[in-house]
């Protein structure tokens, strides 16, 4: 060697990679060539360039001729390949069993996957806000808690509490009766008009607390300006398409060019507990020359949200409020007492909990319910459990059939661990196949499932690390558990004795199998009895007398003060249509939300009662068929009635006001600043104007010509199509600017129990799946057991046992297991369902019938399954069975 100067060394990773993939025969020359080449390049070029070239040429060796041939010479690879081959052959040999396994696992994985995605979506509400963990809503907790608190509270908290970093107060634009108002917005330049819902007034700090992605303009700045409006992206699109609308003017309810578009932000994600279409600033409101008590401390009429400094315990702030706030509130000693005593108070609700855990008055949108999610989750886990148990049970039952195979393998030198690996791989092939199939099924079921649970899951969300890990781990867990028992059991025999002709006197693992069978039945019974109880409750709610008529009533809604005159015209026009009976104008419809204010009797001013209010016309009692127990209903022939100083109460209000013979007595209605004094003229029987989730609360009814939003009309169901046609005609004639739409009162009330109905449908499906899987599993196991016991049965028959005796013998054990399962499942189910029923004020109760039906059903089903599968063997001629061998 002439020149022994040191060599440049190429990237180590590269040479390692080469050694890993390159054929041994070619490795030396290729390595040599690359190294030599690298030396030349390094001499001439900078290091990075040489490295790059080195890598370039290295990757050019990734060609078939240079790559190691996999599995050619490796024992391990050959062995693993044989496992897969055996697994495949095994699956093909038992096609029935394989398809049942796959079906069961696919069903379970699909159900679990869909419900998992649903739960994940439902629990992800409002997590998109920056610092979402530190944002809280202030709720007012009294005997009828509500989301709304006074407007000045937010900024007072920021200035006087060091823990409160930012705060915002906002409110939806409410119409009369505190229904969310619909605003007519017009872009006059292009003459485009839309009815827009979800308009909000918000403080300038809105975008400091909540995170919205700006698209045009600067939203934070926008809220500083009078008459500036921030639009959501979807709303902006409706008016301006894809153009930048900043600076354009919009008309508000016919007030020409009142608003200027100052910014556009992205719509809130679906998982938000509120969303706005357009937003005006309180700055705009305050610029108006009116001193609205709404903006004072007296009106609990705004949504207040605070952002605390990171990691602050909200209870610290909560506990300071009762001693701080009385200086602002113009309250009686009594009220302040009970505030300080903690009987009533302000609560900070974590923003991310609002969707699932808050269900108080004035939620911005209907929230979800945590207890239903638990039902969904538990049901899904039950199905998974049942399916895993099936898989394990059938695999263990089949183990005895594979005794010879294991014997041969062990004689040829297989280790125990290799037997286990083989069994695991066979199970893994099935579970992973099921997993892959279930992804397809999930894709297919995405929309039906969303319709079923009113969800918004997207299957592509499945491809997240944790979800994939969870599913893969479930598949692996299922496979390993099902492989564990057979391999341990079969490994326990000595190879020699197996081959010499060891006969298993009985199938091993029956204790384990029976135990698992019991667990399966427990899950099934809980599911079935649960869905029956839910059904009972729904039926109970449907059948319950609400205290008013809900059938054959049509509701026409025209929200907005501008229409109060027109709704009167509409009423008189509608009355002329034949087939329309009584009609009534009201501010709120039973089943909807009601505003509430305090009341007190003149004779007892200390006793204040919060009462819902409903503005009604003279026909409300006859239209809704309300029963008047005392006095009379309102009527505009009396001047006091039409002036709004005559009141009708319900029985609960009378009871809570603690007044005898209320008719004719003076009552004060505390409408914030305005104290209305009037006479009680009548009392109506209690009726369920709210959903049956809550008890009946006090209500006060009075007249107010400007507050009617809804027209309720009784119709003759026999000529409904003609009536609707005529109503539409009149409607478009009187209010052409509003799109005609109508609802039926009974279906609107039914919507209050949508969540129950959905849960019922889901649990029925899941119960059906669980019955199918449990019976299928039982069928599979019994058919294997029977095959093992053919000889025994035949001998019994020869000795004179009747088919009935033998059937009983085979059934008895499983019926006993079922009985034990029932004993465990029924108390568990009762506790669980009682817990669920406690969500309702009016409960159907837990019916023993449900459990009777479930028990008898399960026992019969098991008996039937076992008898069906065994009857052939039992009926067969014992001589034939005994002669073989």
């Amino acid at each position: 060697m002439s020149n022994n100067k040191p060599l440049y060394s190429p990237p180590t990773l590269g040479s390692q990679l080469l050694r890993w993939f390159c054929k041994d025969r070619l490795l030396e020359e290729i390595e040599g060539d690359l190294l030599e080449y690298y030396q030349i390049e390094r001499e001439a070029k900078p290091k990075w360039k040489a490295n790059l070239l080195y890598w370039f040429h290295l990757f050019h060796f990734l060609r078939p001729f240079a790559l190691k041939k996999i599995g050619q010479n490796s024992n391990i690879i050959i062995m693993y390949r044989s496992y897969f081959k055996f697994a495949w052959r095994g699956m093909m040999r038992h096609k029935m069993q394989t398809s049942f396994h796959l079906l069961g696992l696919v069903l379970a994985f699909t159900v679990c996957g869909l419900i998992y995605l649903h739960l994940k979506f439902e629990t992800s509400y409002d997590s998109h806000h920056k610092d979402a963990d530190d944002i809280y809503r202030i709720a007012w907790m009294n005997e009828n808690p509500q989301t709304r608190t006074p407007h000045p509270m937010a900024q007072a908290l920021v200035s006087e509490f060091p823990e409160v970093v930012k705060a915002v107060t906002f409110s939806p634009i409410y119409g009369p009766g505190l229904t969310k108002d619909v605003i007519l917005i017009t872009h006059d330049a292009s003459n485009v008009t839309h009815e827009i819902t979800d308009g909000y007034f918000a403080d300038t700090t809105f975008f400091d607390v909540f995170t919205y992605e700006p698209i045009y303009g600067n939203p934070k700045q926008a809220l500083q300006n009078e008459w500036a409006v921030v639009l959501s992206e979807s709303t902006a699109k409706r008016f301006f398409g894809d153009e930048d609308p900043v600076g354009q003017r919009l008309s508000f309810n016919g007030m020409v060019d009142l608003l200027e578009v100052a910014a556009v932000v992205k719509d809130a994600p679906k998982a938000s507990h509120f969303r706005f279409n357009f937003m005006l600033s309180y700055v705009t409101l305050k610029s108006l020359p009116f001193n609205d008590p709404w903006l004072s401390w007296d009106d609990f009429g705004h949504f207040n949200y605070v952002k605390l400094s990171p990691g602050t315990n909200p209870e610290v702030v909560e506990s300071k409020i009762p001693n701080w706030i009385p200086k602002y509130l113009n309250w009686s000693e009594d009220n302040i007492e009970s505030l300080k005593a903690g009987e009533i108070g302000f609560k900070l609700q974590p923003i991310q909990d609002i969707h699932l855990h808050s269900n108080i008055r004035w939620e911005l949108e209907p929230n979800g319910s945590y207890s239903y999610l638990i039902i969904y989750g538990v049901s899904a886990l039950f199905i998974l459990l049942i399916s895993i148990i099936n898989f394990v049970n059938l695999n263990t039952a089949r183990a005895a059939q594979r005794l010879k195979e294991v014997g041969v393998k062990k004689t040829l030198g297989a280790f125990r661990s290799q037997i286990f690996t083989q069994f695991s791989i066979e199970a893994l092939v099935t579970t992973f196949l099921a997993l892959i199939l279930s992804v397809f099924v999930m894709n297919w079921l995405e929309t039906p499932f969303n319709n079923l649970v009113n969800g918004s899951i997207a299957i592509e969300n499945l491809w997240q690390t944790e979800t994939v890990t969870f599913m893969v781990l479930t598949a692996i867990f299922t496979a390993i558990v099902s492989a564990l028992y057979p391999s341990v059991y079969l490994n326990s025999f000595e190879a020699g004795s197996i081959l010499r002709g060891l006969k298993l006197s009985k199938l091993g693992g029956s204790n384990l199998r029976n135990g698992l069978l019991g667990v399966q039945l427990v899950a099934t019974v809980i599911l079935i009895s649960g869905s029956l109880t839910i059904r009972n409750q729904i039926q109970f709610l449907k059948d319950k007398d609400l205290g008013f008529d809900q059938d054959n009533l049509m509701v026409l809604t025209i929200v907005g003060q501008t229409y109060s005159q027109k709704i009167r015209t509409l009423k008189s026009e509608l009355e002329s249509i034949s087939g329309i009976g009584e009609t009534s104008m009201v501010s709120n419809v039973p089943g909807g939300q009601f505003n509430q204010h305090p009341l007190y009797m003149e004779e007892n001013p200390q006793l204040r009662v919060d009462a819902s209010e409903m503005f009604v016309d003279k026909d409300v009692a006859s239209t809704l068929n309300l029963e008047i127990v005392e006095g009379r209903m309102l009527d505009d022939v009396f001047a006091a009635d039409s002036a709004g100083t005559a009141f009708v109460l319900n029985e609960t209000a009378v009871r809570e006001l603690n007044v005898q013979d209320p008719v004719g007595k003076q009552l004060f209605w505390v409408n914030n600043e305005e104290l209305v004094k009037g006479t009680v003229v009548g009392v109506v029987k209690d009726f369920h104007y709210n959903s049956l989730h809550v008890p009946i609360r006090p209500i006060i009814m009075m007249m107010n010509q400007n507050a009617y939003n809804h027209l309720i009309a009784k119709f003759d169901p026999n000529s409904l199509p003609q009536i609707i046609e005529q109503v539409e005609e009149k409607f478009t004639e009187i209010v052409p600017e509003v799109d005609f739409s109508y609802r039926f009162l009974d279906s609107q009330i039914e919507e209050l129990y949508q969540e129950e109905a959905r849960t019922f449908r889901l649990t029925v499906i899941l119960s059906a799946i669980s019955i199918f899987l449990a019976c299928g599993g039982l069928l599979g196991v019994i058919s294997i057991v029977i095959r093992q016991r053919v000889k025994e049965i035949s001998i019994r028959k020869v000795l004179g046992a009747s088919a009935k005796n033998i059937l009983w013998l085979i059934n008895l054990k499983h019926l006993l297991i079922a009985a034990i399962a029932l004993l465990i499942a029924i108390p568990a189910s009762v506790i669980f369902m009682r817990n669920w029923l406690s969500n309702f004020t009016y409960q159907a109760g837990i019916s023993p019938l449900v459990y009777g039906v479930t028990s008898v059903g399960i026992l019969m089903l098991i008996g039937l399954t076992i008898s069906l599968i065994s009857i052939k063997t039992i009926k067969a001629n014992p001589a034939n069975n005994l002669r073989s061998e």
Binding site: L26, E28, I30, E31, G32, Y37, F61, L62, F65
Partner: protein, 113 residues
């Protein structure tokens, strides 16, 4: 046997192996190809062609002495076999005969264009 045809690049490599005799190995072949034809060739491409030619029996190889600049690794020196020579000759003749069959007119016209 399928695959005893000589591809264009294979023919080039085979020729260069002849040219470089007795010093033809992967890297030197690549260099020669670049020098003579101005084509850009990856080392891997050359090795791949060499291994194919060897499979077809047109080349034979043996490992030579280890050298320092190769980090003590040996080169594989390639030489043309009788089969290889025959294949080259066949290609050469085929090409010459085809070229000679082109009418003069055709070549002249091509020049004019």
């Amino acid at each position: 046997m399928k695959g005893t045809q000589l591809g264009e690049f294979e023919e080039l490599v085979l020729l260069i192996v002849g040219v470089l005799y007795p010093e033809a190995y992967g890297l030197s072949i690549r260099e020669e190809i670049i020098n003579q034809t101005k084509r850009k060739v990856a080392i891997g491409a050359v090795h791949s062609a060499l291994s194919r030619l060897e499979d077809k029996g047109f080349l034979k190889s043996e490992l030579a002495e280890a050298t320092h600049e190769r980090g003590g690794r040996r080169k594989r020196i390639f030489t043309i076999t009788a089969e290889g020579k025959k294949a080259l000759q066949k290609n050469h003749e085929l090409r010459n005969s085809l070229f000679n069959q082109i009418p003069n007119m055709a070549l002249k016209l091509a020049k004019l264009v």
